[in-house]
Symmetry: C2
Subunit: 351 residues, 2 copies
DNA sequence: CTGTTAGCGCCTTCAT
DNA sequence: ATGAAGGCGCTAACAG
């Protein structure tokens, strides 16, 4: 980034409008500048060619009147708005807020604004949100993963808006996918543990029906182990959403099973941090007695007495990259695009 | 909540529109139902009285055509949109996403959608965001705290939109304030520590220039101590934003000062959890050698080997309550309103 | 309870 | 490089 100058700057400190006064419109600006409304509109949108002198007069008038364009009128006239619809599965842990942070960062120097919805991992809710966001004729819709209801997929395909599916790249996108291969990330976790000499490896996870990517990592993990002739010696899953609390409980459950385990792969860092806390509480030496590996690379894992070994997903980059690509081309490209933002093993001290 | 029936239900699984076909409009629905556009509009908005039989025919036509109202047109015609502008200082820790979660929860059964902006604690950015959101003629703007630029305040006061200022209630709101008294919360922390018998109390904090509420808690803390004849024996502040990492470092700095300290009040839970990690790493017994108290009541604090003693702020409730009050009355009330969502001491095991 | 008439403020298309 | 005309889809005000 970035070409700030692409976007008309409507900030600054305009004289605040009087509550009683009618809001300033294009017509007012046009009259003051002594040009037609159309010319003012062109200046604002930086479209067509305008005489430098005219542009200057118009900008002066805009500033003098504190003109702020009415977005609803613009949207109606152009059948498309400066809205980016953003659909997130959840706001309950820090992962999706970080994606949103990336989206916001990509948008902050533009006149586009994110309008958000939260699905709670429910595809029917996603469907409704898509319909509801499409009613605003947004420039793009950003959602998560490749699972959608049949109707939702059709709406997205048939609409002319650009669509980004985030987090995952293991499937065919509607338009643009930005994320990482969770399957590969799972394999990488397996290989890391095996290389470190662990061979009694177990899994602690959370609800897969909601979080399909966690399942993809699990499958990759098993596959990675199989490639070295190993397999999981035990596993324990909660049917709850992931949380440190569930991680703590679920590891405790796993260990009460009596199987000899020397390393645990967790479905994500929240679960892993919870597991670490369990070890602290019952005096299990990490990693000597039990090694732990998480997924995500959250800050909290790096502040533990022993920094958590984990896999970094580039959540901020996923959001930011998606927005940049979306805004780079208004038209949906002929070919779908997948962007791999990658992952990397964070060599902590717990595995 | 709630009275779902107040809001026209435009969900369901309408036949997805064909990309080539013109989108369905009110006129199409009106023709099919054999009524005027206006009647359809009334049915959708549930305004005025409609013959049950007419309503039914209209609804059937809407469903049959998969009609989705064009929000831009509606906004333009009514000079007000179904947008709630939400301005947050940050998305980097879990606190504001939880407020947003509350806002979203309050909005989910309504046709209103949040449009968001992030200030990074910068009032000039807030000012620009307010201007930019006001361009959408939102039904309300939700922001944080009472500090705004002169221009921003004027824009909000002069606009007819409802305004909620969240988190804090220690000042006079423009329209509605929902939050808690951070000053009182600070006092409560002081009294809690003193009651527990600690008398060599120190403070570990983060950047106040950005986070004025953290400062308010500090002032309350000092005042609370003074009420019992005490004062802080030491304090250490980082000029960074709060994080577990900074908490860990800053406590380490504080303790290297050589002053005898038996309890530390932290500016928030992120800092306190970091402090706890420091104690674990250097083998300081908590709370025997050093007691710790945080602020916020984050989940992570409750998963520590010893649950963190802290002060619960009701972040979800703040967001949800604000939205409910905002939507309860479209008009700004004559008198400003302050809602105290309160706080409570979480009696953990660290103080 | 329902229909008619005018816009809302801007953008697109076509002229010049 | 600029202007004129028309309409985007909906809602408000007024009839009836």
């Amino acid at each position: 980034m970035t070409n700030e100058r692409r976007w008309a700057d409507t900030s600054g400190l305009p004289p605040a409008p009087d509550a009683t006064a009618k809001p300033v419109t294009l017509a007012h600006v046009a009259r003051l500048a002594g040009v037609s409304e159309n010319t003012v509109s062109r200046v604002i949108r930086d479209k067509g060619s305008i005489a430098p002198e005219t542009r200057q007069r118009v900008n002066a008038a805009i500033e003098q009147l504190g003109y702020v364009p009415n977005r609803a009128a613009g949207s109606l006239a152009s059948s498309s708005s400066l809205i980016i619809g953003v659909i997130l599965p959840s706001l309950s842990n820090i992962v999706f807020p970080e994606v949103l942070r990336g989206i916001n960062a990509g948008l902050s120097a533009t006149p586009y604004r994110p309008m958000i919805g939260v699905t709670d991992y429910d595809l029917d809710i996603e469907h409704q949100l898509i319909a509801s966001l499409l009613a605003w004729q947004p420039a793009a819709i950003i959602t998560t993963g490749f699972d959608h209801t049949v109707g939702a997929r059709r709406m997205l395909e048939n609409s002319r808006v650009r669509v980004a599916e985030l987090m995952d790249i293991d499937n065919a996108p509607i338009d643009l996918a930005v994320g990482l291969s969770h399957h590969e990330a799972g394999r990488a976790m397996a290989h890391h543990l095996v290389q470190r000499g662990y061979c009694n490896i177990a899994y602690v996870g959370h609800d897969w029906t909601a979080d399909r990517r966690a399942h993809a990592r699990y499958v990759g993990l098993c596959e990675g182990l199989a490639e070295t002739g190993l397999s999981l010696v035990a596993e324990c899953r909660t049917d709850q959403a992931s949380s440190t609390l569930e991680g703590r409980k679920t590891l405790s459950n796993l260990l009460s099973g009596g199987v000899h385990i020397d390393a645990v792969a967790f479905s994500n860092d929240d679960m892993a941090v919870g597991g670490f806390m369990h070890c602290l509480a019952v005096n299990i030496a990490v990693p000597e007695e039990l090694a732990l590996i998480g997924f995500n690379g959250l800050e909290i894992g790096q502040v533990l007495p022993k920094p958590l070994t984990t896999v970094l997903s580039n959540r901020f980059a996923i959001g930011k990259t998606a927005v940049e690509l979306l805004l780079a081309g208004v038209q949906r490209p002929d070919e779908t695009v997948k962007i791999d933002t990658g992952f990397s093993i964070v060599e902590g001290a717990t595995a």
